[in-house]
Symmetry: C2
Subunit: 299 residues, 2 copies
C-alpha cells in the first residue's frame, strides 16, 4: 500500500572524518522516501526552490517516488550545514537557511488523500497536524519530532500525539518529553500521551519499540563503515513504514520485522555520503542484511 510522507527536502553541506561534501541531496522526506520506496510506492509532499535540479527529481522518480506533491516555490531550497565529531556520535549544526521551507504549508494533492500509511517527518507539530486534516482516514500514522518542538511547541505536540499511531524520537528526546531518565520508563510513558507505539532511536545502539502489549529491542546493524550518519533516522522510519505497508496486518511480528527493516535501511544510508548508498541499494541488499541482522540478534 502507498506511503505518504510530508517533510523537508534540502541541500546538505556535510563534514565527517571521511571527508566533506557540498550540496548533497538531503532532507527528512528525501531519506524517508528513498528507504520506503525500496518496498512500495511513496507519495512525497515537500517544497523546494527554483534552484532544485531536474536530476534530483529524476532520481526520486526513478526510485518510485511520486512527486505530485513536490511544490516548487520562488527562492532557494532549504540548506543545512553540519559537522560530525570524530566518533560520528555527535554533530554540530554550522548553518541553517530555511529559505522556501520556512513557511512550508503542506498541500496534500487530491490523488494522495486516500493514502493508508502516513509519515509526518520532523516539523512543527501544528504543520504536522494540518496534514492529518487533509487525509481523512489513514490506517497508520507515524510522526517524528525533535527537542526543538518539545521545547517551544509542547502544547501543539501534545495535541498531535492522540491523533497518531506511532511516535518516533531519539533517546534524549524521549527523556525530555516524559521527564523520565530511565529509557524503558520514558518509552512506556510516551504511550500515556496518546500514540499506541513509541519508537525510540538510539543511534549506534539501535532502537526500542514500545506498545502497551510488548516492548522490543533491536541493535543497530553492525556496520564497520559509517561514512555519513545524516538521514539515518529518516531512513530508519522509511524502512519501517515501507515494509509495514507491504504486510497484511499490523501484528506484533510484523512490527518487529519492520524495526529490523528500518535498521537495515538506516545502515545502508550511513555507508555513503548523502543519499548515495540508499539511492543505489536494491531490495536484495535489504533482504540480505535483514537475514544477517536476524542472525546477529537471535538467541
Amino acid at each position: 500500500m502507498s506511503v505518504l510522507v510530508v517533510g523537508s527536502t534540502a541541500f546538505d553541506d556535510v563534514e565527517t572524518p571521511f571527508g566533506s561534501r557540498k550540496a548533497c541531496l538531503g532532507g527528512s522526506s528525501t531519506y524517508f522516501s528513498l528507504a520506503a520506496a525500496l518496498f512500495t510506492e511513496v507519495r512525497l509532499v515537500s517544497v523546494v526552490g527554483e534552484d532544485f535540479p531536474a536530476e534530483h527529481k529524476e532520481l526520486l522518480a526513478s526510485r518510485g517516488v511520486r512527486l505530485d506533491g513536490l511544490e516548487v516555490k520562488e527562492g532557494a531550497t532549504f540548506r543545512w550545514s553540519g559537522r560530525y565529531s570524530a566518533d560520528m556520535n555527535s554533530r554540530e549544526t554550522l548553518d541553517v537557511q530555511l529559505n522556501t521551507f520556512g513557511d512550508f504549508r503542506p498541500k496534500v494533492p487530491e490523488a494522495f488523500r486516500d493514502s493508508p500509511f502516513v509519515f509526518l517527518a520532523n516539523g512543527a507539530p501544528g504543520t504536522q497536524a494540518s496534514v492529518l486534516d487533509q487525509v481523512p482516514r489513514p490506517e497508520f500514522v507515524v510522526a517524528d519530532t525533535m527537542n526543538l518542538w518539545i521545547d517551544i511547541a509542547r502544547d501543539e505536540l501534545m495535541a498531535l500525539l492522540p491523533r497518531i499511531d506511532g511516535l518516533i524520537l531519539n533517546d534524549e528526546e524521549a527523556r525530555m518529553l516524559t521527564g523520565e531518565s530511565n529509557l524503558i520508563r520514558a518509552g512506556r510513558k510516551v504511550l500515556d500521551l496518546g500514540p499506541k507505539l513509541a519508537l525510540v532511536k538510539k543511534g549506534e545502539h539501535g532502537a526500542f519499540l514500545f506498545s502497551s502489549y510488548f516492548q522490543y529491542a533491536m541493535p543497530a546493524y553492525p556496520t564497520e563503515a559509517v561514512v555519513d550518519p545524516t538521514g539515518a533516522g529518516d531512513s530508519f522510519a522509511g524502512g519501517f513504514m515501507g515494509f509495514l505497508s507491504t504486510c497484511d496486518s499490523l501484528s506484533l511480528w510484523n512490527m518487529k520485522r519492520a524495526v529490523a527493516y528500518g535498521t537495515v535501511t538506516a545502515s545502508l544510508t550511513v555507508e555513503g555520503f548523502g543519499v548515495d548508498r540508499i539511492a543505489s541499494a536494491g531490495i536484495k541488499d535489504v533482504d540480505r542484511r535483514f537475514q544477517e541482522l536476524v542472525q546477529f540478534v537471535s538467541v
Copy 2:
C-alpha cells in the same frame, strides 16, 4: 563444572539518586561469584582484611561459593566510594583505599588448580597472568580489564591476551585498546590481539560478542528500576561464565545464550543496592528473565 574467580572483595560506599549506603559488600569477585553461583560451584580467590565480617563469608558460602582461597590479611579490607549521576550512566570515584588488596598476590589453593573455567576479574595484567601460571590446563579463561591497565600496563596486557580465551571490556576500553572509534571494528580488532572472543559491554545498551566466526548483539534487559549499577559488569561476567560452565560444549549457540544469561544476572544486580538483589535471587528468577529477554529480542 567449577568456575574459579580471582579478584577483589571490597566494602563499597555508594551514592545513587535512590539513596546512599555505607560499607556494602562489594568487589569484582563478589559480584561475579554471586552471579555464577546461581549456576555452578564457584571457587573464590581474593583477599580481605581482619575487619571482614563473618556474616559476609556465611552469605557467600550459603550461595555455593567456596572460600578456601579467601585470604585474610592484617589490616583493612579494600574500600571504594563512588557517586552516580542522575541518569546512572556515569559515576565519579570519590575515594579508593586499596588496603590489603594493594599488594594482592593471588595464591590458588591446590584444590582449585584443576578448575576448568577461570575468570580473571579486573586487575593488573601481571597479577592476572600469575593466576594462569598456577592453573595448568584450564578449558576456558576469560579476563576483564580497564582503561587504567590499557594506559599504564599495556605491555603486560598484550602479553596476557594470547593466553586467554575471552576478553571482557567496555565500549570505551575497546576503543582505547584498539584505537578504533567504530565499535564493530574495535571489537573485531581485539581478536587480533589474541583472544578468540571479545565481549564488549555497553551498559544500558547491552553487549556485543565478537569471534572470528560470528558477531552477536544483546540489548540490556529492559529494567525500569535501576537502583545501583555497581557490579553490573562483574555480574554479567558471572552469569556468562556460570551458564557456560553448565553447557556440554562451547558452541556458538551456547555462547549466545550465555550472553543472555549474563545480561539477566546483571539486570538483577542493578535492581538493589550492593549485592542485595543478586544474593537473594534464585535460578527461577533467572530463567524467567531469560525467557523475557528472548521475547524482547526475537524477530
